[in-house]
């Protein structure tokens, strides 16, 4: 049957590179809510926090990161949402 043949085929054919958490790789990088410019890198243009599958962070650092971003948001260092147009 076509269906079974289909499922046995490797579904993900595109190149998949395992990303390494950049905070684990470089311990000199610190997650700090006061440094909004470095946190901005982990936001989308809309101001949302990028998911782990995009930014490649490990669970531990993603957790720290979200806390830092949320703290920076309360201080108006980072936006909650960017609305345009």
């Amino acid at each position: 049957m076509a269906y079974t043949r289909n499922s046995s085929r490797p579904r993900r054919r595109f190149f998949h590179r395992r990303k390494v958490c950049r905070f684990c790789a470089d311990s000199s990088l610190k997650i700090d809510y006061k440094n909004a410019d470095s946190l901005r890198f982990f936001l989308t243009e809309r101001g949302k926090i990028t998911p782990r599958r995009i930014n490649g962070c490990c669970a531990k650092h993603q957790r720290e990161l979200t806390v830092a971003i949320k703290r920076a948001r309360t201080l108006a260092l980072l936006p909650y949402a960017v609305t345009e147009g």
Partner: protein, 166 residues
Amino acid sequence: MKRYEVVFISLADLSADETDGVIEKYTSIITELDGKIVKVDKWGKRRLAYYIRKRREGFYTLVDFGGENKIIQELERNFKIDDKILRYQSVKLSDHVDPDELDREIEEAKQKEAPPEVPPAEEKPEEPAVEAAAEPEEPAAEEVEKPQEDTDEPPSEPSEKETGEQ
């Protein structure tokens, strides 16, 4: 003794004297309640990421100190009342700090006064006193630049989930 870090945003249209007065008011609250101020860092006027009380600018001040939680209670009570304060946030950096350790750090900070320098700013609860001096903006900005190339490609990868979001 606990270690706290309080950032507050005061109105940007106050004169320099008035801003100093505001800062003085809150630092005196800390010292009156037996707190030890490690540093007072004026970040200066900054643009806010969103409007707070119809304002787009604010004067940021960071106060790093050691003390008991009654200081935080008193500070926040006053922040709430004060019209000149747009926003405040207090963060506990560590639960147990040795007062002598703090004194030493204050001394160090005084000695380093000549070259403007930012003492420990990390949120490491395990270490009471973080010696590593985190320099502010400049180096961090560079650090972020290189990883940027990495994450340019990946967004194309999980196509099903991404479209679901929109």
